[in-house]
Structure formats: structure tokens, C-alpha cells
């Protein structure tokens, strides 16, 4: 085993000597300083509850107890409309605490069925709901009288949808081609106060991990409105409490707080898995593209081939040397981010280390292409160009597959509500097939994101982001790693064969 290790060490020596590894580590260090400059401040409780209510007012269909959340599909004439709007009217701290999440609070909310935006001034771009409203009324006018009497309001519809598990127990859907709230009918008397409490309790807990200790409906002064008084207990999970974040050691601070777990996930997903990872991989493609052509230069290759080591071993371990380069870089970066996040935010999430092997696997696909091109042409520039072209192709397929996934999620949600089999567009099926057959670069990215999310966010937070829907459409680990490894093995086999039969 000493010979292969010697080849690995030689690759690292080459990277170290050319200063590329050093430069990359320095750049990673600067990046870590930037990450360390991000500060987190817990948001005040009132702001948290107000934001929660605003978020609840978003035009999103939440079904299956909120586990499935998809953007609501509006009518053909305008943008989506909210089912109901929620506003915090009074707020009181029942029990003060050093950390806001540990306090106890009481507040009242007013629920208005329909979109609050219909009261906003006219705006051709943003004012869809207002334009839609008369049409909705017209639609109501067109309905038979007895149906109009039996129609629940939008809030009841929202609560009923939330409880709907696809069985049609609470819902009766008339529209077949779109899910317009005006065409969703809720059976009269189906929505009880118990269901409303369950709705608020679960959603609030999901967003803030704050338990509801008191829930009471108060009389309303305005007809059609509902008023509730809610009392909350201390939070059990600090990752869920929204925080404001600042960058460059407080030079700039965000206005809207975000739940800590989601914020950390967003930062790490953006900086490590997406942008940072992509930058590391692309730079590594360029740097490592010189390893094998350098080895294959006339005068160098004969020196190595005269040594008692097989060509296959030589090439494979040169390949692994390139992977090792990325492994070191990603381990340094991810380890640093993990440490900094732990110290700065108090969240120690070991799951982010999964990024290291996954990023290395992503690079492994590209480096196998680079190795194959290098053996064929012995030219670093050609290797880089071929590899980047292949990476671009995989990226393109991945992007289209992302849209195809969104398309499939929406079609599934609609089909589930309607109790039908989902129908997907041909383009989505073709992209899906192509994505499954090719090295799973995009899927590795998706799975990396999910792993980071699982590590940084609570289950309920992920549920709030529609994890149960997304997870159903996630690629499998076995398929992703299996197909990718098959491609890598195939390309390396091809490269090894060429290297073994070629005269130097």
C-alpha cells in the first residue's frame, strides 16, 4: 500500500509546490473570516409573532396538516389570492426572560377572510387581488342560491384545506383544471373551533417551536372577522426562533428576522453547497487538470512507467490525488464553517460534514472526465475545456430538472386534491430520464442541500417548508451515488485502458 500512498503524496507535493493548494487554503481562510463576521441577534417576541401572522397570510395552500405547502394557483385572470389574512392587534409579555424564546407571551389576532391586499391602492403590477375580487363576487353571484348559503368563508376554507389529507372529507372541488379558492367548497359546519386551535398551534409551533398554552375566541366587533387570544410558553428549540443577522461584524444588519435554523441553512447552502462548492469545484478542475498531463509529458512518463508499478495503479492514484486535493479544501472550509457557526450561533450541526464527501463526489465526476481527456490528449487546456463543457451540460440538465421537479410537485398536489393520477409534461419526463441516466451532479447538490437542512433545521421547520412534498420528489441516495459511481468507474476504466495500451 506504500506505493499508492507515495503517488498520492506526490500529487499533493505537486499541488503544494505550485502554491495552488496554499492559495486555495488562504482564499478559504478569507471566506471563513467573512462567515465569522456574520452575527445573529434574537428578534423581539412581538416582531416574531407579527411576522408569523404575516407569513400565514401568504397565498400558499397548506394541506395535510400543513405538511404539504405549495404556492396557491390563481385564476387565469390574476395572481394568487390569500385565503385569509391574520393581524396581531394586542401584545403583552406574561413572563420576561433573558433570551426572548424563553419568555411567555399573550397576544390577540384578528382573522379577516380573503386577501388584505384588496384594500391596497391600485397598482397594475401588484394589484391583482383587487381586480380579481369583483370577479370572485361575480362568480359567487352566478352560483345557485343554496350553494352560496352553504359556502364557508375563506378562513374556514384555509383551515379545512389544512386538515385535508386527500380523502375529500372536508372538501368538495368543482374546478378541474385549476385550484381557484373560489371554486373550492367546504362543507357547512365542518370546521370546528378545535380544528382552528389545532391549526394555529401546529403552525406556530412549526415556525417558532413555541407551545400554545392558552387559546380563546373573543367576540368580534366587525362581522366576518374572528378574534383569538393566544398565550404562549417558552420555546424548546433555539434554532427555530427568528434572528436578525449582520455581516462584516455589524456593518450591515438585516431588517427582517429569519428563524435561526433557516438562516443558517440558507447561508451554508448558499456559501458552501451552492456558490462556494461550485467555485471550489471549478477552481479544482482547472488546478488538477495539470496533474495528469504533466505526468504524461514525454520524458516524465517514461521515468514513471519504468518503475515497478502498474499503469492502472499509477493513473488511479493520480486521480485519487486530485480528489484528495478537493477533500482537503472542502474539509478545511466546511470544518471552519461548522466551528464558526457553533461559536457564533450556538448551533453545532455535524450533518454539514456530509458536504465534504458529497462535494468530493461531485468533483469526482468532473475529474474523471478530465482524466479521460488528459490521457487521450495529454493537453491540460483541452482537458479543462472538455471538463467545463461537460459540467455545463450537467448543470443545464440539472436546472431543467429543477423546474421539472417543481412542475411535478405542483401536478402531484393538484392531482392529490382532485383524487386523480398526476399527469406530467413530456419535457419533464424527458428531463427526468436524462437526469437519471447521466451522472447525478444536480441530484448530489439537492441531496447535499437536504442533508444540510436536516442538520440545521428542525423537522417542523422543514415541514413548514414543505419537506413532505419535496422529500417525495427527492432523488434516492442509492440511485444518485450508484449511477454517479458507475459513470466514474466507466470513465476511469476507459482512461485506464487507453493508458495501458498506449506507447510512450
Amino acid at each position: 500500500m506504500t506505493k499508492p500512498i507515495a503517488i498520492l503524496k506526490d500529487s499533493l507535493r505537486e499541488a503544494w509546490d505550485s502554491k495552488t493548494l496554499l492559495v486555495m487554503l488562504v482564499l478559504a481562510g478569507i471566506f471563513l473570516i467573512a462567515v465569522a463576521s456574520i452575527g445573529y441577534t434574537q428578534a423581539p417576541a412581538q416582531k416574531v409573532f407579527e411576522d408569523f401572522m404575516e407569513e400565514l397570510s401568504a397565498p400558499i395552500l397548506r394541506i395535510d396538516r400543513g405538511r404539504k405547502a405549495v404556492p396557491m394557483m390563481g385564476s387565469a385572470e390574476g395572481p394568487p389570492r390569500a385565503l385569509a389574512t391574520y393581524t396581531v392587534t394586542t401584545f403583552r409579555t406574561v413572563k420576561e426572560a433573558t433570551h426572548a424564546p424563553n419568555g411567555e407571551y399573550e397576544f390577540t389576532i384578528v382573522v379577516k377572510p380573503g386577501s388584505a391586499k384588496k384594500e391596497s391602492p391600485p397598482d397594475p403590477k401588484k394589484d391583482g387581488p383587487k381586480k380579481d375580487e369583483p370577479k370572485k363576487d361575480e362568480a359567487k353571484k352566478d352560483e345557485p342560491k343554496k350553494d352560496a348559503d352553504a359556502q364557508a368563508d375563506e378562513f374556514e376554507t384555509a383551515v379545512a384545506l389544512w386538515h385535508e389529507d386527500g380523502t375529500g372529507k372536508f372538501l368538495k372541488i368543482e374546478g378541474r383544471n385549476e385550484l381557484d379558492p373560489s371554486k373550492i367548497k367546504v362543507r357547512v359546519g365542518a370546521v370546528t373551533e378545535e380544528m382552528v386551535r389545532d391549526y394555529f398551534t401546529t403552525e406556530l409551533e412549526r415556525r417558532t417551536q413555541v407551545p400554545i398554552t392558552g387559546f380563546e375566541r373573543l367576540p368580534s366587533e366587525n362581522p366576518g372577522e374572528r378574534v383569538y387570544k393566544i398565550t404562549t410558553g417558552p420555546s424548546t428549540e433555539p434554532r427555530v426562533w427568528p434572528v436578525k443577522f449582520s455581516i462584516l461584524f455589524g456593518a450591515w444588519e438585516s431588517e427582517s428576522p429569519l428563524p435561526l435554523g433557516i438562516l443558517l441553512y440558507t447561508i451554508q447552502d448558499l456559501l458552501i453547497s451552492s456558490v462556494g462548492g461550485l467555485i471550489i469545484i471549478l477552481i479544482a478542475v482547472i488546478v488538477t487538470a495539470f496533474f495528469i498531463p504533466n505526468m504524461l509529458r514525454p520524458g516524465s512518463v517514461v521515468m514513471l512507467l519504468s518503475k515497478p508499478i502498474s499503469r492502472t495503479t499509477l493513473l488511479l492514484f493520480k486521480y485519487l490525488g486530485g480528489l484528495f486535493f478537493v477533500l482537503i479544501l472542502s474539509a478545511f472550509t466546511v470544518g471552519g464553517v461548522w466551528l464558526i457557526t457553533g461559536i457564533r450561533a450556538g448551533v453545532w450541526a455535524p450533518g454539514v460534514f456530509a458536504v465534504v464527501p458529497l462535494m468530493t463526489l461531485s468533483f469526482g465526476i468532473l475529474y474523471a472526465v478530465s482524466t479521460m481527456a488528459a490521457v487521450w490528449t495529454r493537453n491540460s487546456i483541452v482537458s479543462i475545456l472538455v471538463t467545463l463543457a461537460f459540467a455545463g451540460f450537467l448543470w443545464l440538465v440539472g436546472k431543467v430538472e429543477f423546474f421539472a421537479m417543481v412542475h411535478r410537485i405542483q401536478r402531484d398536489a393538484v392531482a392529490e386534491l382532485k383524487g386523480e393520477q398526476p399527469q406530467y409534461g413530456t419535457w419533464a419526463n424527458v428531463t427526468g430520464g436524462l437526469n437519471r441516466a447521466l451522472p447525478r451532479w444536480h441530484d448530489i447538490d439537492v441531496l447535499t442541500g437536504r442533508t444540510v437542512a436536516e442538520s440545521l433545521m428542525t423537522i417542523k421547520q422543514r415541514e413548514a417548508q414543505g419537506s413532505s412534498t419535496l422529500d417525495k420528489h427527492l432523488p434516492s441516495w442509492g440511485g444518485t451515488i450508484g449511477v454517479t459511481l458507475l459513470w466514474i468507474v466507466g470513465m476511469l476504466t476507459f482512461a485506464c485502458w487507453r493508458f495501458s495500451v498506449k506507447d510512450y
Binding site: 506505493k3 517514461v302 518503475k307 515497478p308
Partner: protein, 348 residues
């Protein structure tokens, strides 16, 4: 038991026949030289023996095992022509790396590297990066890596290329030392003088074929040609010897006598003594390897010798034009080389 054995070895690159049925044997402990023009197939032959190039037909074995296997390569050291070391290494780290590939233990490597680099004159710079080395130093590094693991067979392709005369002497000594330790050395070189000095046996390769093979003595001997010199050049009995049937040719201050079949040099010496002339010089003329090489190449590729003679004549004409006295036989240099080396045949 031959260390290297090839039988009817053939190799083609597309339409080009690089080797055309090479049959060769190198015995243990020999220093074997392979001569040939550029593109004759010398390097291809070595690369085939090391498995770097695959051969077409024929057989090739090292130590009676198929050539080119990893197991065989363990017993072989190789210095390629125009080699290029990874320049991120120092001589020390390079030998450490290659030693690991040869399966040497760490202790063995750490002990032997300084010794060997001292032997090739690189001890003072062994931790400097190879990129800072001169061509000669790189060549010494190449020699060091070829012999580092004490191989039984060493292939050296142009070992003295780029090395100064002192370095060449040292390399010759290293080769001699390895031979004494029982190693077999296979040398490719354009420097025919080097080959002549180092090698026991020599083969000449032309266009993928071995056209001559033998010991240096066998190849360079030129029977029946003597060079004589007397104190009083003008008193030399030229006419009498011609009358006796001897074929004479005057050089600047000596005489070249070519014996015909059945003739002996003794009557010439007798006549010189009878004339009371004092013999100052007498050697049996030997050809250099270069002579042999050029004549063989000429035979295989007519025109080479004519071009060479024309170049020499042009040079002499230029010299005369510049007023320099070079009134001498164009081949005179070679006689003087022959005298200086004085290898065999000196009857003075």
C-alpha cells in the same frame, strides 16, 4: 544465462517499421553499447524491454521473464534520454519517491540517498528543487535514480549527455563500479568514444536492424595496415618498397603501408634497418568505432560518407583561404587519436 534476450523482435508505428527483426543477447556483467543514428530504433528497443512500448512480433525477455512486467522492472534501472523530472522535487525527495515505488524501506532510503547523491556529486544541493539544477546536475540525478535500488540491469540512454568532461569521467567510473558489483549495463549513446571506452560489446543498429555486433576489439581491428615513422623522412626507401610490391601512402610525416594477401611487414622493417634509419613510430592501424559506424551507415545508406568528405574538404579549403597551413591528410586526426589512445597494436 542471458540477462537480455530478444528474438526477431518487430515493432511498427503505423507504416514505419521501427524494429525489423532484432535478435540480441546480453550476458550478465557485460557493459553493452548500442549505436545507431537518430531514429535507428535504439530507444524503442529499450522501451520495449521495459514495457513502455508494446512490441508486435518476436520475443523479448529480461532475466528469462517476459520483458516489461512490473516484477522484472523491479530489477532494472533506467535513465531515459531527454528525461524530465517533476521539478517540484529535490534530488532527495525524488529518490525517496522512486525508492518507495521500488519497494525500498524507509530506513534503506534515508540511509542510501545521501550516500548516492554524494557519489554523483549532488550532496551539497540534494535538498534544492530540481528546477534550479543545471543540465549536468539533472543528468547526475538521472544516473542516481537509475542505480538507487541496486538494479541487476541498468539501461542508460545517452548517460553523458550534457555532462562536462569531469562528470563524464565520474559517470564512467560509476558504470565501472556497478559492473564490478555484478550489474549488467546497457548503454545507448551517440558519443562513440564513450562507448568505445565503456563497453565490452557493441551492436550497431540501422533502420531497425542490428547490422553489426561484437567486442570493441573485434569491430575496430583493421588487419594489414601499418603506420611507420622514421627520423629522416626523406630517406625512407619509398621507391624500393614500391618495387617490392608494397602499397604506400604518405601522410604528413609518416607512411601508411597496406599489406596485400601473403605480404608481411617484416621485409619492410628489415630494409629500414639495412638503410640505417631509426624507426620512430610503428603501429598497426586501428579503426575507431566512428569509422566503423560511418562505413556501415554508408553501406546501408549511401551518400553519408561522401557528404562527410565534402564537409572536411570544404573546411580545409576555408582554412587555406584564411592562410592557415593545414596541408595534411584529412584522416590524419584519426591517426593521432589512435596514437593518443594507444589501444593495442602499438609495435613501437
Amino acid at each position: 544465462m542471458a540477462v537480455i534476450e530478444t528474438r526477431d523482435l518487430r515493432k511498427t508505428y503505423g507504416r514505419v517499421e521501427a524494429l525489423r527483426g532484432v535478435t540480441l543477447k546480453v550476458e550478465p556483467g557485460e557493459v553493452f553499447g548500442l549505436l545507431g543514428q537518430n531514429g535507428a530504433g535504439k530507444t524503442t528497443l529499450i522501451k520495449i524491454l521495459l514495457g513502455i512500448v508494446k512490441f508486435g512480433d518476436g520475443e523479448a525477455t529480461l532475466f528469462h521473464h517476459p520483458a516489461g512486467t512490473a516484477e522484472v522492472r523491479k530489477r532494472v534501472g533506467y535513465l531515459p534520454e531527454d528525461h524530465r523530472f517533476p521539478e517540484y522535487h529535490s534530488a532527495f525527495s525524488l529518490l525517496d519517491y522512486y525508492g518507495t515505488l521500488y519497494g525500498m524501506s524507509k530506513d534503506d532510503r534515508r540511509r542510501k540517498i545521501p550516500e548516492l547523491l554524494d557519489q554523483v556529486g549532488l550532496a551539497a544541493r540534494m535538498n534544492d528543487k530540481i528546477r534550479t539544477y543545471s543540465k549536468g546536475m539533472k543528468q547526475r540525478t538521472g544516473i542516481a535514480q537509475a542505480i538507487f535500488h541496486d538494479p541487476e540491469l541498468i539501461f542508460l540512454d545517452e548517460p553523458t549527455d550534457g555532462v562536462d568532461p569531469v562528470g563524464r569521467q565520474e559517470i564512467r567510473e560509476i558504470i565501472e563500479e556497478r559492473r564490478r558489483k555484478g550489474a549488467t549495463v546497457f548503454v545507448n549513446s551517440h558519443l562513440l568514444g564513450e562507448i568505445e571506452m565503456m563497453c565490452d560489446r557493441v551492436a550497431i543498429m540501422q533502420k531497425g536492424e542490428l547490422i553489426r555486433e561484437g567486442t570493441v576489439q573485434e569491430l575496430t581491428a583493421q588487419r594489414g595496415v601499418f603506420i611507420l615513422g622514421v627520423e629522416e623522412r626523406n630517406a625512407f626507401p619509398e621507391d624500393e618498397l614500391r618495387q617490392m610490391g608494397y602499397n604506400l601512402r604518405a601522410t604528413r610525416d609518416r607512411w601508411e603501408i597496406t599489406l596485400k594477401d601473403g605480404q608481411s611487414i617484416e621485409p619492410v622493417l628489415q630494409l629500414v634497418r639495412e638503410k640505417g634509419l631509426r624507426l620512430t613510430h610503428m603501429v598497426e592501424k586501428r579503426q575507431t568505432l566512428e569509422d566503423i559506424f560511418v562505413s556501415l551507415v554508408e553501406a546501408a545508406e549511401p551518400g553519408v560518407e561522401a557528404r562527410r568528405k565534402k564537409r572536411i574538404a570544404d573546411r580545409d579549403r576555408d582554412d587555406r583561404g584564411r592562410g592557415r597551413d593545414r596541408d595534411r591528410d584529412p584522416y590524419d586526426d584519426r591517426y593521432r587519436d589512435d596514437d593518443r589512445r594507444g589501444r593495442g597494436g602499438d609495435h613501437r
